[in-house]
Symmetry: C2
Subunit: 315 residues, 2 copies
């Protein structure tokens, strides 16, 4: 594939007038890029600019925006004009498959073939989105987390017709502009983070439906329990460190039988030797030799800071 | 019931030599209480004291411990001695039902009836634990999150023979010493936070078992995606604010059909009108009239701070 050098991307196009489209636009502006925005209707422009303004307050705290021009944005309701001269496209249209398929059919013809097109879709598969696109090899999922101008994660995966070079390009580009890209090997619904969040969310809905907890109790439990820890340790590392020097091996060997208990309505996978060993070696990868004591100390140090932030209410 | 006034609790007993027992001991010491610790064996003492020392580093940052005596602790391997004169018991024995049943049979006879006994169990039911206890009416689950000296959540629920006054007492006592107590109406396995975390965890194990993600990718996805947000907004409020002015109602009305999609292996409950309305009014309870703009601004302000903490690695 003959893709543009990521360092030569000066202008990006953000398609869509919602919080994700506006959030991406604000993020790219803050990285010093010019943005061309496509909105479905002129009526969206006021809200769109207001969302960028809100995002800017936070972006200014995270980055040194001294010489950055926030007004380096052109808004258009004409798709052809919006994508013209853009060296990267971030698509944030509504999550309706037929709508996205029609959009990619158009984009496939009007966007230069050296330009990668990424979709912010959280639930659709690129294989389906690119079905009617004449140039699908450069179409990739680049799924952010809300708010996209703050949360670093971008989940990346191609469809059946995507060229693997476009996937690599997307990873390199997102990393270059300061995101944390996660490339998936398989195209599975919900990617990684949304699947995990959705399991938690569905269990929460079950609890409310059964009168076991109110939404308020669910939120209190999360914010005062696993929440502060999850910002600084994923669930694998959290369980690894919770079990002291024995780590993940102790966790799985001791709590393995608990996977059979009805602690959630989600049935657990069989805890085979292979799965156990993959989890254990995975935690070794994460910790890179750091021992329990340093890991726990680092965790505690950061939780203390997060609890201080939680207590510091504006109201 | 004739329970001791929570303000007259000067000495508490923490049973168990693991990280939870030591963590509770450190927390109570930091609140100015005297602690009597029961360890199964003298061999555990060195690690136990080391865990209290580690906890103290963080406790000093969160609380003003000027006049607090960290050495106000007596360690014993004799259960009768350990519980003597304690006005509250926090039990942190291993998660083995028969072991806890035998322990509560003993505690039921040697602990004064005006003293509440709380169990840190994360997976057992108090109805089962209290089965052979002669004075079960004051036995309650008081389940913390690890590390118990930092994370504020304590999930509280009684067993079939627990008097509701003991449940209320436990809530008031934990609140009095600075925890965030969550009283559950129903005794369900895993309580609230563990159930939610367990749904996420089982989905993570499925993904690893299927080669869809590595443990490292799972942790990266959580820490850079939902993690920073979950420390300051539970999942209900997060989805409420993500949908702009329309809030949870927009979320459920738009994404309701997505509950049928295989975004996790956990089957969602039926999204009935009743469940929808309960979620929507629940979010109104949480936000107490704050509008989308202020909620999003508060979220962003705190996420910025958390991202700064994440970036600030010791190593």
């Amino acid at each position: 594939m003959d893709l543009i050098d990521k360092k030569n991307v000066k202008t990006v196009c953000s398609i869509g007038g919602g919080p994700i489209g506006a959030g991406w636009a604000a993020f790219f502006l803050a990285q010093g890029l010019s943005v061309k925005a496509y909105l479905h209707s002129e009526k969206e422009e006021k809200d769109y600019c207001s969302m960028i303004e809100t995002a800017w307050i936070s972006l200014e705290k995270l980055y040194d925006l001294g010489s950055i021009n926030r007004n380096s944005i052109q808004i258009s309701t004409n798709l052809e004009n919006a994508v013209e001269n853009a060296q990267f496209i971030q698509e944030n249209a509504p999550e309706i498959l037929s709508l996205k398929q029609d959009l990619y059919a158009r984009l496939g013809n009007i966007v230069s073939s050296e330009v990668v097109i990424c979709s912010s879709t959280s639930g659709l598969m690129m294989t389906d989105i690119q079905a009617h696109c004449a140039t699908p090899e450069r179409t990739v999922v680049g799924h952010p987390f809300n708010p996209p101008y703050l949360l670093p994660l971008v989940e990346i995966v191609g469809g059946e017709k995507t060229n693997s070079e476009a996937v690599v390009w997307a990873r390199n580009f997102y990393k270059y502009v300061g995101k944390v890209p996660l490339v998936m090997n398989k195209e599975i619904p919900g990617f990684v983070a949304t699947r995990l969040q959705e399991a938690l969310w569905r269990e929460a809905l079950h609890m409310v439906a059964n009168g076991e907890a109110t939404p308020e109790q669910i939120d209190e439990a999360l914010m005062n329990g696993p929440g502060p820890r999850m910002a600084i340790q994923g669930q694998c590392l959290a369980f690894h460190v919770a079990c002291g020097a024995g780590g993940m091996a102790t966790n799985l060997d001791q709590f393995g039988p608990a996977l059979k208990l009805p602690w959630t309505r989600l049935k657990a996978p069989e805890l085979t030797k292979k799965l156990r060993d993959t989890m254990v070696s995975g935690c070794d990868e994460i910790t890179k030799g750091l021992d329990f004591k340093s890991l726990a100390a680092e965790r505690d140090r950061k939780i203390v800071e997060i609890i201080k932030i939680q207590k510091n209410h504006v109201s």
